[in-house]
Assembly symmetry: C2
Homo-oligomer: 349 residues x 2
DNA sequence: TTGAAAGCGCTAACAA
DNA sequence: TTGTTAGCGCTTTCAA
């Protein structure tokens, strides 16, 4: 396929009886070229169907004009909204974007990082796989001074200089748990993902802090760690059913697990929130649709993507950028029926 | 940033007292090079931190090793699962992937197409914006023989040669509507998006065919065309409430609108399925969570992405590829409670 | 205001 | 089995 010879600046030069350098300048609107000449060059280029050869340009200028994103999975409603935000910003600023998924595995993540490096991305946006324990595999980027911006799933490591965009997960976990306590819950179960991952670790820390502050002793039995997805509920509820003294509240570290827990509880005739109140995390669309409506932490995915992308692009434009900034976005507790033990049920929000 | 001089094959050649071409060959495991030499070259390259320069290689070989995807939006649970499938396959085959969103606008789509073209993608995967009326803006690709694979939102145009991956939307619309008729519905409302878009147009055609076959005259009042999203229900139900003889069934051309319709109906005390039965389209996770469970058309997003990507890569590998193939994936009607007027409600599936 | 020439790093045809 | 050489298309320095 794709045989036809490309039109080059030499072809344009010949057609116009100019030199290639003049054409090159004209095409980029160089001030040293006479307006008329520039005009002629651009017209001719269009007429001949000229298309600039990015490789030659990049080779010459040693720039790729491309940014990379690596994230655990694209088919997650939260993560895809983050990428949507990233893509929008990056595109706006005239960069290209290459994307890959780590499928929640450090090993795949390493491969992706190499690929990005070899593609000579000028900057990298990354949300870590849940089993990533350190940032060593990003060494090649740090070593060459290619800026890396971590978002959402980050790792703080004083050794490496990079920017992060996050929310205050500990505070959010604290807010969620405190809300359950205010609603009268005393035995609150935590359902979370791999604690190697900052988001779950911190949400868990916030949960424990809230319990401690209210003098509630924390019962190991009430900690349930697993992969969080649409099946989490099956296993979590199975565990609950076997307990001598079951929980009266659940804080699940993401919405899909929270929703699956609610579905499963309902199937076993356990009432939500009367028997067990539930709070989730993320405020995905689902949480407004399920009955009872899911109380959850709202958390701006699209915005997080836009901020991460803007920050990276900003760094790229600076000669002496600050590389260790941490940007913390706001979160809010959105109260719906799934946690309202006290007041009469309001209309779904 | 990024000042350090790169290691090139010349540096390796010098260090090893070889020529650059030998190094180039060794690096790619060329059979003509002695095993021992190859080994030495590779070791040295690693030791020196050599990183191959893709631009020079691409410039020389006139290949980019990159594929492009353009789709309406990344933050849609269906579309993001398609991209997830695409990314996986493309990555597996060693290509890079660049992605952009048209935000459902032909104009943005045109810009994206140009960018992809300028990035010299070797092939393009595209799901059209809903207001795209023809494929003229893809001319540059066809003209240069760069293969284009359309998926999901396609346009059939005998003028252009390209491959499509779709489902049989008309049949699916027919299936959905027939099911409602079997359940005893006689006044069935169609809720769809812009009919310029093949998926809505065909689902509508299937709907009308089913009505016609059952001798149900079709009432213009029962056709509701709008942007399909989480707010569609508000407007659709508003219309229903004003009708003299309201529908007893609704076929909504995607799940998010179907779900929003159900929520809105319930809020107005209209029972689903008793008063109005509802069928959606896509089988997103949501449809299993809402109550009553949403009857819908299952439609394999991830698989569609994988098939589209594989097809494109296959074409790229052929000297005389067949470019006008249409691949039709299976769909199935998934029956849940939202449409079960007749039988007692089964357990949610 | 324009042109000549060198070179970015790599590959491949041809020669040895 | 290895080396020589030319050139992919562009930008940029230096000269005119």
């Amino acid at each position: 396929m794709n045989q036809k010879k490309e039109v080059t600046i030499y072809d344009i030069a010949k057609a116009l009886n100019l030199s290639a350098s003049t054409v090159s300048r004209g095409l980029r609107n160089h001030p040293a070229i006479r307006k008329e000449t520039t005009r002629k060059i651009i017209d001719k280029a269009r007429a001949m169907g000229y298309q600039q050869n990015t490789f030659a340009r990049n080779l010459r200028k040693n720039r790729s004009n491309t940014l990379g994103v690596i994230l655990p999975r694209l088919d997650s409603s939260f993560q895809s909204s983050v990428v949507a935000g990233i893509e929008k910003k990056v595109n706006q600023k005239g960069y290209n974007l290459i994307i890959s998924q780590s499928h929640e595995s450090v090993e795949k993540e390493k491969v992706n990082i190499s690929t990005m490096y070899n593609s000579r991305v000028e900057g990298l946006l990354i949300s870590l796989a849940c089993d990533t324990r350190d940032l060593n595999h990003l060494d090649m980027f740090f070593g060459k001074g290619i800026p890396v911006v971590l978002f959402d799933r980050v790792k703080v490591d004083s050794h490496y200089k990079c920017t992060s965009v996050v929310i205050d997960n500990k505070k959010a976990g604290y807010d969620a748990t405190s809300h359950l306590i205010e609603q009268g819950c005393r035995r609150i179960m935590f359902i979370g993902g791999n604690l190697v991952c900052n988001v779950y670790k911190e949400r868990f820390a916030g949960y424990r802090k809230a319990l401690a502050e209210h003098g509630i002793s924390d019962d190991k039995q009430l900690t349930f760690i697993d992969i969080l997805n649409e099946e989490t509920g099956t296993f979590a509820v199975e565990k609950i059913l076997k307990m001598d003294s079951p929980p009266d509240g659940i804080f699940a570290a993401n919405d899909s697990s929270a929703v699956s827990v609610i579905c499963e509880l309902k199937q076993h005739g356990i009432r939500v929130p009367e028997d067990i109140a539930v709070v989730g995390f993320n405020n995905v669309h689902l949480s407004r649709v399920i009955e009872p409506g899911l109380t959850t932490i709202h958390y701006p995915g699209r915005e997080m993507g836009e901020v991460a992308a803007s920050t990276l692009i900003e760094i790229l434009g600076q000669d002496y950028p600050v590389l260790t900034k941490t940007i913390v976005l706001d979160h809010q507790l959105v109260v719906r029926e799934s946690s309202m033990k006290k007041k009469p049920l309001p209309v779904a929000g």
